[in-house]
């Protein structure tokens, strides 16, 4: 133990050989991009989301028989509305929303279940930049694949619906807005997942909360007294989001703009709660 203390430099400071720069948001963003790229669940979820959207939507149009049946797929708030070419193209949306939501949950909750969070926060002790970076990346990636999936489904569907009464083209009123609304909704669902995962710190808990809020809550709300239900129903997260990608506006729904704003509000609220917990509590 004494031998190692002999030839010590007088100054005491370690020789600085490695160039190190201060932690900045763009560096955190780059680091989180690497983390997203280097786990398998990212690619599985994004591919699955893309395939579900593209495939279900295309199949929907080709199996359409013109009988005028209502949409049966989708969250309770959406099911049962009159069938149109856009809702056919978005047949896979509710499945895709679960997949991208799970993707978001895993990106944050997975850090806690694997312990990676300790390395992450040791590198970025200000903590919040990590959450913002994950939200931006998950939202951005899903926006791209969801837009690709929705447009693919719609364009393939156009071929299948050729000659049918409900056929519309991309240029018709509301079509572009609905498809982009769907992509935006799914991107926000991914951010919602990021927030739930960070808030609950457990993949199982985060996924359960996601499913409950998006799919079960609207159904459960039917137990409310009628007058309450009618007032509150449009504001439930998935119902508000549904308004953003519906081709036609109806009286019992918010307008597309209001819908996406309300859903974004829910997401922002959850993200704020997640940020509070991340900043304030031990890991």
């Amino acid at each position: 133990m004494s031998a190692m203390t002999i030839d010590r430099p007088a100054g005491g400071a370690a020789p600085a050989r490695t160039a190190v720069k201060p932690v900045r948001f763009h560096r955190v963003l780059l680091s989180e991009t690497t983390k997203f790229r280097t786990i398998r669940s990212t690619w599985i979820c994004l591919t699955l989301g893309l395939v579900l959207l593209g495939l279900f939507g295309s199949i929907g149009a080709f199996t359409y028989d013109g009988g005028g049946a209502g949409v049966t797929d989708g969250p309770p708030g959406i099911a049962g509305r009159p069938l149109d070419a856009v809702s056919l193209a978005l047949m896979g949306l509710s499945f895709a929303s679960l997949v991208v939501g799970v993707f978001g949950v895993l990106s944050t909750a997975g850090e806690y279940s694997t312990g990676t969070i300790r390395s992450t926060l040791a590198a970025v002790p200000k903590r919040l930049p990590v959450l913002w970076a994950k939200a931006i990346l998950a939202g951005g990636a899903v926006l791209v694949i969801a837009a690709a999936g929705a447009f693919t489904a719609f364009l393939i569907g156009t071929v299948g619906l050729d000659g049918e009464a409900i056929a519309v083209s991309l240029g018709d009123e509301g079509v572009l807005r609905s498809l982009l609304g769907a992509a935006l909704y799914l991107a926000l669902v991914a951010v919602f997942g990021v927030a739930l995962g960070a808030l609950l710190r457990s993949p199982a808990g985060g996924i359960a909360a996601l499913v409950s809020i998006l799919l079960i809550l609207p159904g459960l709300a039917m137990l409310l007294p009628d007058s309450w239900y009618d007032t509150l129903n449009p504001y439930f997260p998935s119902n508000a989001g549904g308004a953003a990608y519906a081709l036609t506006e109806t009286a019992d729904r918010l307008s597309p703009g209001e819908g996406i704003a309300v859903f974004a509000g829910w997401v922002a609220l959850t993200l704020a709660a997640a940020a509070f917990r991340l900043k304030r509590t031990d890991v």
């Binding site: 203390t5 005491g12 400071a13 680091s31 300790r118 390395s119 590198a123 002790p125």
Partner: protein
């Protein structure tokens, strides 16, 4: 340099770290010792700001950890609990960490090589053995070329070659002028690596001393010598740092001198010896005596010792 001042952590109504003050100085290896549950890992998490102290404070190179612009350059840590995603490769894990600090790609390869992980750098961390996981943790700790290095039970899971590697690595880091903090519950193991000791029990400071002083004060590291000319040998061994005691006129207990030196002195002066025994194991006993009242998890008495 790490400075803890009255550092306290409570979980619920359980005080896990209790008014702990100590300093980890540059150019030294400081051993952080305590029995299971003493609060070592909790203290280290507070150093990194992962857990917030209930009271008191701890600084790294003069500032709170989160106050540093490039924290990985100030202190590199290996924590006790796993902190890597099992699905990611070692290389990807280190790259992501490096990117937060704008650390060049070349440094990632450097620490991979330093930790001897070249052959497995591209493999999923989930498939790593315990020892490989420890090496990856150490690679991550050194990534930012930190002034202070803090390792929570780094030899845990390492084979003898790995233990030796750690020992040499820490000696080298301290010789470069870095502050090194190393936790363990093995006194004999730590005494071989450390210059300084911080010993805690139930979150409280029990001793803050040098290894030398600990060995001297606890009367351990002594050598038992038996000779027919014990009286003459006693005079020959006398020195400022040497204490010699003897219960009878053939047996001596020498501390401050190694068995090797005593043997040499005896040979030079033609003193015949018939026993020369270093009492090494007692270092661990001294540690246990010190901490025995502070044990968090006491085992059922097996030999009467722990029941005292």
């Amino acid at each position: 340099m790490i400075e803890a001042r009255e550092l306290t952590k409570r979980y619920g109504d359980k005080t896990v770290v209790d008014g702990l003050s100590f300093t980890v100085k540059p150019g030294e290896v400081t051993g952080f010792l305590g029995p299971n549950g003493a609060g070592k890992s909790t203290t280290m998490r507070m150093v990194l700001g992962l857990d917030a102290p209930t009271a008191g404070s701890v600084t790294v190179n003069g500032r709170s950890y989160a106050g540093h612009g490039a924290p990985l350059h100030e202190i590199g840590a290996l924590l006790e609990a796993k902190s890597v995603h099992p699905g990611r490769s070692a290389e990807a894990h280190l790259t992501a960490l490096a990117q937060t600090h704008g650390i060049a790609r070349g440094r990632v390869d450097e620490v991979i090589e330093l930790a001897g992980l070249q052959s497995v750098a591209g493999k999923r961390v989930g498939a790593f053995s315990l020892g490989m996981g420890q090496r990856l943790g150490i690679a991550a700790a050194l990534l930012g070329d930190p002034e202070t290095v803090m390792l929570d039970e780094p030899v845990n899971g390492l084979d003898p070659e790995g233990v030796l590697w750690i020992r040499n690595l820490l000696a080298k880091l301290a010789a470069e002028g870095r502050a090194v903090l190393l936790s363990s519950h093995l006194m004999s193991e730590t005494a071989q690596i450390a210059d300084h000791l911080v010993i805690i029990g139930r979150g409280r400071l029990l001793a803050d001393t040098t290894v030398e002083a600990f060995v001297r004060e606890t009367g351990t590291g002594a050598v038992r010598v038996a000779s027919d000319e014990a009286g003459r040998l006693r005079a020959l061994l006398a020195g400022p740092d040497v204490t010699v005691s003897g219960s009878n006129d053939t047996e001596l207990l020498v501390s401050g001198l190694g068995a090797r030196e005593i043997g040499r002195v005896a040979l030079e002066h033609g003193v015949p010896l018939h026993e020369l025994t270093p009492l090494g194991a007692s270092l661990e006993e001294a540690f246990m005596d010190l901490t025995t009242d502070e044990l968090e998890y006491r085992s059922a008495p097996a030999d009467g010792r722990s029941a005292r």
